[in-house]
């Protein structure tokens, strides 16, 4: 399959923060990604869409160095990170809110925020600021990760990623399991982050909401990019919605 | 030309292997001194490791009997292993020459024509120390042993000859590590002497801690010889000086066999021989003597038995005499750990028993 052309009028390409070219990968012998290409500009909020099992999480894992890429290239901030270890990738400025939260059961909320705090990139996020964003976490700061409710864990996962002060924040289903008010909180927070110039790669099932948030959208279908474009184009394009079967 | 085949089954790995290795080295030395020949026949020894496990020992013994068709068996250190393999050996009618294990069963009611012991009956050294401590007329001796049948036997042996006051009779855990509690009890009880039997590592632990507590200078410690031999001295060091112990063998026994043994053992293995090494050496001498007597004709059961029973030779501790129950009748000496030059060794300081017969011999009705 070939990506539906994004319209030429999308302007001159900004310097890309993340550039993925012809990425192949998967799990052991199971191939999931079949030649994926997309780019995320500096300061851009980019949505990765697609139905269940289409390879979104696999893409994220490959970006983070958790899965090995079989072939292809990942450029981040001008450097090739295709073969780097996860810790080296994080050191370059990526951070992830992983699917399924994966908070540490044996660390308290506060320890999550202290342990992974990285002072860099303007040193924007501190534990205190995370607590401001999620007051609920502050109430629970001495609780272990395992004692938190699902939603609380999700907040913590976001806080834990922010605290590394990343250049690119990746959220894989970050609103999963959040109550509507809370979900709104996250959207609000993402909007704020975006306005502050944070680059974001977001995966979420609330496509409608993403359209107000994201600049660019990439739709995956069976490990390939089948559509790319901005929110307005997405709104207008019927074929895109078919891929999402909404 | 024929050869004499010997199966040497001993503890050659694991924590107890120090004893087995000493016995083996002593045995090998004797074989070498005899020019690799017993009574003109080439000596062919196969060694196997019993891992201090009864069933492994039984297997090794079976292998030696059934596959290698050995003429003699020897090597087992621990009495519980000996008892586990005894029936197998006796059923096969292979003579066994024990270089250490001397269980009371085989000295008494279960004595067997195929079992010969060149070392001792297990109680011998305890009995000797009982007699010596008795002779010192201490008013109150503190007795300590691990809480298992062999430990109780040891104290029974001691008390067979010690008739004085027992300050306390205390049993410890098997394989105990720390003796601080017992040592505090001893200090508080103020006995005039302490006698203990602790096998293997526990023995070393006890002596180290007793010395470290400074008690050695206050309350004399008496031990059976195997708890204070060269291996223990090597492990504990100079703080052992002063400890009394009893043994059928000492470094300084002035017979030619012993002189040659001690000297060559030191030269060959670069360490002081222990009584296990001496016993290993003696076991080889006994076999040699029997083969010599048989003129190489090993097939005949009755002749073999007669040869082993009547063997006369000079062992590392003088002329050897086998009792009616096939356990040695021997002298037992008093030794004391002392500094000699810059070495710490056991000095011979007296003799406790002359031609001592063990307590079970009476019960033996040798078939």
């Amino acid at each position: 399959m070939r990506p539906e052309s994004a319209s030429p009028e999308s302007g001159p390409p900004e310097p890309a923060l993340l550039e993925v070219t012809d990425l192949h990968g998967g799990y052991g012998s199971a191939r999931v990604l079949h030649g994926l290409s997309f780019r995320v500009g500096k300061g851009e909020t980019h949505a990765l869409l697609g139905r269940n099992g289409m390879g979104k999480t696999t893409t994220v894992r490959t970006l983070m160095g958790l899965n090995a890429a079989r072939s292809g290239r990942i450029l981040f901030d001008g450097q090739d990170i295709t073969k780097l270890s996860p810790e080296a990738v994080v050191a370059r400025g990526l951070a992830v809110v992983p699917e399924g939260r994966q908070v540490f059961p044996n660390l308290s909320v506060e320890e999550h925020l202290i342990a992974f705090h990285l002072k860099r990139h303007g040193n924007h996020w501190t534990p205190g600021r995370v607590y401001e964003l999620f007051p609920r976490l502050h109430e629970r700061r001495h609780h272990g990760g395992q004692q938190l409710s699902g939603g609380e864990q999700q907040m913590l996962a976001i806080g834990r990623a922010l605290i590394t002060n990343p250049k690119l924040l990746i959220l894989d289903e970050a609103t999963e399991g959040l109550a509507p008010l809370m979900r709104e909180e996250v959207w609000r927070c993402l909007t704020l982050l975006r306005e502050s110039g944070q680059s974001i790669l977001v995966i979420d099932k609330y496509v409608r909401r993403l359209m107000t948030l994201a600049d660019q959208h990439t739709i995956l279908e069976r490990g390939q990019v089948v559509w790319q474009g901005n929110s307005a184009q997405l709104e207008a394009d019927k074929t895109a919605w078919e891929y999402l079967s909404v | 030309q024929g050869s004499v085949k010997i199966g040497f089954v001993s503890t050659l790995s694991g924590p107890g292997s120090g004893l087995g290795v000493d016995a083996r080295d002593g045995f090998n030395l004797a074989v070498r001194h005899l020019g690799n020949k017993f009574g003109g026949l080439n000596v062919d020894v196969s060694f196997s490791d019993d891992k201090q496990d009864a069933d492994t020992a039984r297997q090794a013994v079976e292998k030696a009997i059934k596959r290698d068709k050995v003429d003699f068996l020897t090597g087992i250190i621990f009495s519980n292993l000996m008892l586990a393999v005894g029936d197998t050996i006796f059923d096969s009618k292979t003579p066994y020459v024990s270089l250490n294990a001397g269980p009371s069963q085989y000295a008494g009611k279960d004595c067997n024509p195929y079992f010969y012991n060149v070392a001792w009956q297990n109680d011998n050294l305890h009995e000797a120390m009982g007699k010596y401590v008795q002779s010192r007329k201490f008013d109150g001796v503190y007795l300590l042993a691990p809480n298992y049948p062999a430990g109780k036997d040891a104290l029974t042996g001691f008390k067979r000859f010690y008739k004085g006051k027992v300050a306390a009779e205390m049993y410890t855990k098997v394989n105990q590590l720390d003796f601080a509690a017992e040592i505090a009890q001893i200090r508080a009880a103020r006995p005039k002497a302490v006698y203990t039997f602790q096998p293997g590592g526990s023995g070393i632990n006890f002596i180290k801690q007793y010395a470290e507590a400074g008690l050695l200078k206050e309350i004399p410690l008496f031990l059976p010889g195997f708890s204070a031999d060269a291996d223990v001295i090597k492990a504990v060091g100079p703080s052992m000086v002063g400890i009394f112990n009893t043994s059928q063998w000492t470094l300084e026994l002035a017979n030619d066999t012993n002189k040659k043994f001690v000297e060559d053992f030191r030269k060959t293995y670069n360490r002081t021989p222990s009584l296990y090494a001496a016993q290993g050496y003696d076991a080889a001498l006994l076999m040699n003597e029997a083969v010599k007597d048989l003129k190489g004709n090993l097939g005949n059961d009755a002749a073999m038995r007669k040869a082993l029973e009547n063997a006369t030779f000079t062992s590392t501790h003088g002329p050897f005499k086998m009792g009616a129950n096939h356990y040695p009748i021997q002298d037992i000496y008093l030794r004391q750990v002392a500094k000699k030059g810059n070495e710490v060794v056991n000095r011979q300081v007296g003799k406790v028993f002359t031609a001592h017969v063990d307590a079970y011999a009476r019960e033996c009705k040798m078939k």
Partner: protein, 312 residues
Amino acid sequence: MKRALPFLLLALGLALPFILTALGQEYYISFASRILVVALAASALNLILGYGGLVSFGHAAYFGAGAYAAALLAAKGAGFPAQLLGGTGVSALLAFAFGWGALRTRGVYFIMITLALAQMLYYLAVSSASLGGEDGLRLSRAALWGEVTLGDDRAMYYTALVFLTLGLFVIWRVVHSRFGEVVQAARDNETRTLALGYPVRQVQLVNFVIGGALAGLAGVLMTQLSGFANPSLLSWHQSGQFMMMVILGGVGSFWAGLLGTVVLLGLEEYLGEITERWPLFVGLILLGVMLFVPKGLGSLGTLFNRKKEVTP
């Protein structure tokens, strides 16, 4: 191929004494009996550990209890069938009692509590004069029929072979039954298994008792093979050895117990023959296997099987 394997193995088992005799290696018949007996106990552990996911570090307790029960019965003049029943029964009861207490815990705690319970039994045996202390109990070999006793190598071998085959057959049926399915489910996801309505603890306890009873059976055979029951049968070294065998054989693959026993005892025997430093080489080989075949030797077999065996 896979279906034929048990029958091929059985045929080999039946023929082995003749092969050994033909090769002039009769001594190894008794060694083979030992492998069969130990393999029965190890396979019983595989039922608990491999299929049940419960790492019991006290398996020697049931093995040894069976042995001591048989030795005590033999001293009272009981015959072989009575010893078998008695030994197996005592071990089953013991496994029930120990399992009942231990199954409150999980994971490493389970390892340690089973160890503790077995250690208690060990110290009891060592310090008890009526159980013979360190020396243990001796017994004479039981009569099988007529003049033949289990002291005869071949009689012992075939007896062991019969019981190992029986034991493995029982394990196979249990593992592939509804019951076995729940046992494995509880291993893989205990909470969900409870939520599906299965009485996980009871199931695990029953499985534990089956494993314990089979180990007791092996213990009885052991006394007939060796002529004694002694504390080392109860020791943690023995428990550890069973565990090593199962892990080496491949946890939860059906043949783990047999395979692990053959390889481990075989290695020790072979290397012990050629060098006094055998532990060094056994260690190196075990390490090599674990580094390169982490799921145990049994998993090598799955290279040939289409259906993947499930390991925790």
